[in-house]
């Protein structure tokens, strides 16, 4: 009887060790919150540029370089590309996007859609 109890203790001890390793080193599929966080921050940034009356002018003149430069300065850890009015782009698979609508500026009415694509470098 004593032998059986000792054997059970050894088995349980091994189970504890295995469970501990499993708990510590198992790669679990935890949702990555970084993309949504970055989308919120980029959306806020675009809204600020729009309030400063810069974004509408850049979009209307198709000045993507200016938009990319501002985004790059504000978010150095991200890579960006932008499309105006649903223009097609070559993008990496891990890119995600934010859209921003612009009716025009105070001298020119022209509905436009800016899509900002971003991915971690």
């Amino acid at each position: 009887m004593k032998g059986v109890v000792e054997l059970a203790e050894v088995v349980i001890g091994m189970m504890i060790v295995v469970a501990l390793f499993y708990t510590l080193f198992r790669s679990e599929n935890i949702p990555d919150t970084r993309p949504t966080e970055m989308k919120i921050r980029v959306l806020d940034f675009l809204s600020t540029l729009d309030k400063e009356e810069k974004l509408a002018n850049w979009v209307l003149t198709n000045n993507k370089a200016a938009i990319l430069e501002e985004l790059g300065k504000a978010f150095p850890s991200l890579q960006f590309n932008v499309s105006i009015d649903s223009e097609e782009l070559q993008l990496p698979n891990n890119a995600y996007s934010v859209i921003y609508f612009i009716p025009g500026n105070y001298t020119y009415f022209k509905p436009s859609k800016l899509t900002v694509y971003m991915w971690f470098s």
């Binding site: 189970m15 935890i30 919150t33 859609k113």
Partner: protein, 203 residues
């Protein structure tokens, strides 16, 4: 007896470990992600609403196109983003004392469904219009007339069913030697969020 206590302790220990790993952390992350998505959606809605309102303001210098520009912009955004809008726009031309002023009221329905039994009542003389139905993505236009010798504020009462009853009372300030554009917007977003705005700009 000692072995049984040991066994019981082990079972409890394992249970706590598994609960910690599978229960708390994953749920916490999932909840954070869900909250972040809700924040993102709210900010997107705010951005779209701001752009819709701005489409009216940027047309202020070209008053004969305000309503058309607004409708064009709403249709443009709806190609990429799901929402509904009901807009009431009042375009009052320059008012001269003791002369008849006829102004235009536009109701643009883009709520994604028809609205019915639409009635408009103007407080100046009680004149009114009635429409049995206004289809989705269409607008109706009516004219009202007033004659004043000094600045005045009128009201326009609008009732419609969608299918529940809705009532809007819009203040219409009329100022001598000035034109005025008044708008009342109701935007309904996919997540049930509703944004409203009343504004005016003159010249």
């Amino acid at each position: 007896m000692k072995g049984q206590y040991m066994f019981l302790m082990c079972v409890i220990f394992l249970f706590v470990l598994i609960t910690l790993r599978f229960g708390i952390s994953t749920a916490a992350y999932a909840s954070t992600e869900q909250n972040l998505r809700a924040i993102y959606l709210k900010k997107m809605n705010e951005g779209v609403f701001h752009a819709i309102e701005k489409s009216l303001l940027i047309s202020a210098n070209n008053r004969s196109y305000i309503e058309n520009n607004f409708e064009d912009f709403v249709r443009y955004v709806k190609n990429s983003y799901d929402f509904g809008v009901l807009a009431i726009e009042v375009n009052i031309p320059k008012v001269y004392p003791n002369e008849n002023t006829t102004f235009n009221v536009t109701i643009f329905n883009s709520l994604g469904k028809n609205i019915s039994n639409v009635s408009l009542n103007f407080s100046y003389d009680g004149s009114n219009y009635f429409f049995e139905s206004v289809s989705d993505n269409t607008s109706i236009k009516v004219n009202f007339t007033f004659n004043i010798s000094s600045d005045a504020v009128f009201t326009l009462n609008i009732t419609y069913y969608s299918p529940e009853e809705n009532k809007e009372t819009i203040l219409l300030p009329a100022r001598i030697e000035k034109a005025n554009f008044i708008y009342n917007l109701k935007v309904v977003f996919r997540n049930g969020e509703v944004e409203k705005a009343y504004g005016e700009f003159g010249s």
